[in-house]
């Protein structure tokens, strides 16, 4: 897959590299001081960015990619320090400059698009002054000129109602709009280099695509160099001329997009390529055939009972009282049926109501209208003891591996908790059960005495799965169970879930925003938007031959991000 398609810049568009690279990092070593010890974040990192070039740095969490970005602008947190190496920018070594001199470069020569649009704008200031700030700090414009330029920048970033946005406060704008503001801000000083730190990870896929398109356009039009930091290899290959792969603080691979995608021999890169969800989605669409699920068919009974049926579920949230009451319809007329032994996937963007639906199934929320039956019995308003009995059959795995566990309890106590609550067996029997569950999720038995904060994200999620399965439920609701994990770990956990489903004859209700995961993992899919189901069916139906426009939009955005 080459970058030279669909308007992406071909290699020939690069400016002359006559005066040397714009950014030249050599032998960079950075460490953090944590509780007295020194922890390496970057080791012997080298990087080159030519003028007008788009370079992407790809890595999982802990790879050091964000540290590299913040080091270039010399904004490491207080406990970080540069141990060795040079950070060359247009001939100057930024690592050796005085803070005062670096400050003159920030914003003016190097623009930065920060990570999280929801928290990266000053909440007590209007947008206008924030966009104008770079120009005023560096004195490139008078106040009226800066104001006019700010409006222009916001328009270029894709905000058509720029004048109104200038007067608005950050909390009045959506996530996508805020990201565009941040982009406009980065361009305000007319820098030579723009660094974008995870520009899409906080956004829905349709919005993310639009934002990235706009950013690429601006960078090309104004001949800027762009350094993208991302965990999404697919996006990097599509958008950048040159891709650098990082792992554990080192650069392990690098090359043009074509080299990386077609010819890379580095095992880590290959692993990332094979496990990147969006790339798999493309393969699916291209080949128009599903990934074989042979082993599973053997287990699926020919006429399975419907384990869970939801009919016309509706949830309305009411806030305030009296005349000032506001209503929010989170879920509107959702119906689904989960056959025993299968995986039912619900996919949708944020605000689609997928999580609320899951919570209604779990009876963590009361349905405002509609009905819920489990094994034929009506459980819509189950309470008290009946509800507790239901909980034996329906369990949950949350999105956040850390928040869902009490940090003061040991792993063993956490896994044991449901069994204890239902008084299943003696203490010794339960202890044996805990060990067997740890075994089932492929964790060593010694972990039973550890605490959650001693475990990695993937390990914690395994513990969450063990806890959910320990009382042998019939249905497990998985609410974005892998969204917070790195790509390679995601694949491992999915594989584990698949194996456990066979071993314990489980049914899954799998909630996700990620189409590729659902496409590969679920037997049935429902696509939700604004509280309703717009399309449902088998993954083949939905992803290879979508009928609803929204589904089509989702797919194209994901494939062109």
């Amino acid at each position: 897959m080459s970058v030279a398609q669909e308007g992406h810049p071909p290699a020939a568009d690069l400016l002359d590299t006559d005066g040397g690279a714009l950014v030249g990092v050599e032998g960079l070593g950075v460490a953090y001081r944590v509780k007295g010890a020194s922890v390496d974040a970057l080791r012997d990192v080298a990087l080159r960015v030519e003028r007008g070039e788009i370079v992407a740095i790809v890595g999982e969490s802990g790879s050091g990619k964000s540290t590299l970005a913040t080091t270039i602008v010399r904004l490491l947190p207080g406990n970080g320090e540069i141990l060795a190496g040079t950070v060359g920018f247009d001939g100057t070594d930024l690592a050796r400059l005085r803070e005062r001199d670096v400050r003159e470069l920030r914003g003016r020569r190097i623009g930065f698009v920060p990570q999280d649009p929801m928290t990266s704008l000053t909440p007590t200031s209007r947008i206008g002054p924030q966009v104008m700030e770079t120009m005023l700090i560096h004195g490139t414009h008078t106040r009226p000129a800066a104001r006019a330029r700010a409006v222009e920048l916001l328009r270029e970033a894709g905000l058509s109602d720029a004048e109104r946005v200038m007067q608005a406060y950050p909390h009045e704008l959506s996530g996508g709009m805020r990201q565009r503001v941040l982009i406009a801000m980065a361009f305000a000083g007319d820098p030579d280099l723009i660094i974008a730190d995870e520009p899409t990870s906080a956004l829905d896929v349709t919005v993310a695509r639009a934002v990235m398109d706009r950013l690429s356009l601006l960078v090309r039009e104004h001949h800027k160099a762009l350094l993208i930091i991302t965990h999404d290899l697919a996006m990097a290959l599509r958008r950048a001329h040159y891709v650098v792969v990082m792992r554990s603080g080192r650069v392990v691979d690098g090359g043009t997009s074509e080299q990386i995608s077609e010819h890379s021999t580095h095992p880590y890169t290959r692993e990332l390529l094979e496990n990147s969800p969006h790339l798999r989605l493309e393969h699916v669409a291209a080949a128009a055939q599903t990934t074989p699920r042979v082993a599973r068919e053997l287990f699926a009974p020919t006429n399975p009972e419907t384990l869970l049926r939801a009919t016309g579920l509706r949830k309305v949230f009411r806030s305030g009282h009296g005349r000032a009451a506001k209503e929010l319809v989170a879920v509107d007329d959702v119906s689904l049926a989960v056959p025993a032994g299968s995986t039912y996937g619900i996919v949708g963007e944020s605000g689609s109501g997928k999580s609320t639906t899951a919570r209604m199934v779990l009876r963590l929320e009361d349905a405002t209208a509609g009905s819920l039956t489990f094994r034929g019995e009506d459980v819509t308003h189950a309470k008290g003891e009946r509800l507790r009995e239901l909980r034996r059959e329906i369990q949950v795995v949350y999105q956040s591996p850390f928040d869902s566990m009490n940090p003061r309890l040991t792993v063993g106590a956490i896994i044991d908790e449901p069994g204890r609550a239902f008084r299943l067996g003696t203490a010794r029997e339960r202890r044996a059960k805990v060990l067997s569950m740890l075994d089932a999720v492929q964790l060593p038995s010694g972990f039973a005495d550890r605490r959650p904060d001693e475990l990695s994200g993937g390990q914690r999620q395994r513990v969450a799965i063990a806890r959910a399965l320990s009382i042998e439920p019939a249905l497990v609701v998985l609410d974005e169970p892998i969204s917070a994990l790195d790509v390679l770990i995601q694949t491992q956990i999915l594989r584990l879930l698949r194996d456990l489903q066979e071993e314990f004859h489980l049914s899954y209700l799998f909630i996700s925003h990620d189409l590729a995961t659902v496409q590969n993992f679920a037997d049935y899919v429902a696509v939700m938007k604004d509280g309703g189901v717009v399309e449902s069916g088998t993954p083949d139906d939905v992803f290879c031959a979508p009928r609803h426009q929204y589904t089509k939009d989702l797919l194209t955005s994901a494939m062109h991000l």
């Binding site: 904004l75 990266s120 909440p123 007590t124 700030e133 009045e172 000083g189």
Partner: protein, 311 residues
């Protein structure tokens, strides 16, 4: 917006009402007879005089009647008369209140300015020991008894150096030490709250964004962090009103100044309930009033709250 103001005012009124009820019931638990206390235990009040006095003071009626009557009079700012000398309590308060409020208000100003300065400097400086010292000051300030600091300052600045008068005095020089004492003690709370929230704000993602634009430390603190960080400080100032009022009362005694301190102490010693109740009610009203203003100022500082109120 109007809804918000209305509901806050209503809540304030309810709070004052409950405060009045609490003090009423407390003072009605009094063992002993207020009428006898009024006569001063001189002994020769004949029974008719006593009965007349009781009727006058309303002590012969059941408690709910007394409650209703008192409530009505309090609402119209008639706090009755002092049991000690028969003067209307409202006059007493009117004479003494300005002195106390003067000290409290000036001390608040000093506390705000001093506290903000310390907090800003502590956050601005990168030099670790300077920050350590500056942050240790509020810790110390919160541990010093107000009355003791007053005595200390008296010792040094009045007796030793003779710069300021040591008691009474109605001119500006007489105000300096009392206001300094109370101001220093209260500034500690302001400094601590502001320093913590400034530090948090300076480590926030939006502070990082500002720095990527080339903002220097002062700009960062003043333009981006201060407004958001001031919100908890505003809350603190509302709560500080109570400490300022009691502090002013104590300070008046330390520096022998006229004011509500003297009145209430005399009232307590003589079991002069109307005076005590009157002063307690006035302080409660002031406290509630200041906090109401604070609540109304929140939306001014934090634009996020404005939307929440617009419904």
């Amino acid at each position: 917006m109007l809804r918000y103001i209305g509901s806050r005012v209503l809540q304030s009124v309810i709070v004052v009402l409950i405060a009045f009820t609490l003090t009423f019931f407390l003072l009605h638990l009094a063992p002993g007879d207020a009428a006898i206390a009024r006569i001063g235990g001189a002994g020769d009040g004949n029974p008719e005089q006593l009965a007349a006095l009781r009727a006058e003071l309303g002590l012969d009626r059941p408690w709910y009647a007394a409650y209703a009557t008192q409530l009505l009079s309090v609402v119209t700012f008639q706090f009755g008369e002092s049991l000690r000398n028969g003067r209307p309590v409202i006059d007493l308060i009117a004479a003494a209140l300005p002195n106390t409020v003067q000290i409290a208000a000036l001390s608040l100003l000093v506390a705000a300015v001093l506290g903000t300065t310390i907090a800003l400097l502590a956050t601005y400086t990168r030099v670790r020991w300077v920050r350590g010292v500056l942050l240790a000051l509020p810790v110390l300030g919160m541990s010093i008894p107000t009355f003791w600091l007053g005595v200390l300052l008296l010792m040094v600045f009045s007796f030793q150096l003779g710069w300021f008068p040591s008691f009474g005095s109605s001119d500006v020089r007489g105000l300096v030490l009392p206001v300094a004492t109370l101001g220093i003690v209260c500034s500690a709370a302001v400094a601590q709250v502001l320093a913590t929230s400034l530090l948090d704000a300076s480590r926030s993602p939006y502070a990082f964004t500002a720095m990527t634009k080339g903002a220097g430390r002062w700009r960062l603190l003043l333009r981006h962090c201060l407004r958001a960080a001031s919100i908890p400080v505003l809350t603190m100032i509302g709560l500080l009103t109570g400490a300022l009022l009691t502090g002013a009362v104590v300070i008046e005694m330390v520096f022998s100044r006229a004011g509500m301190g003297r009145e209430i102490l005399q009232g307590v010693e003589a079991s002069d309930f109307p005076v005590v109740q009157g002063i307690v009610m006035i302080c409660a009203v002031i406290f509630v009033g200041v906090n109401l203003v604070v609540d109304l100022l929140y939306p001014v500082l934090d634009p996020r709250m404005r939307r929440a109120m617009r419904s």
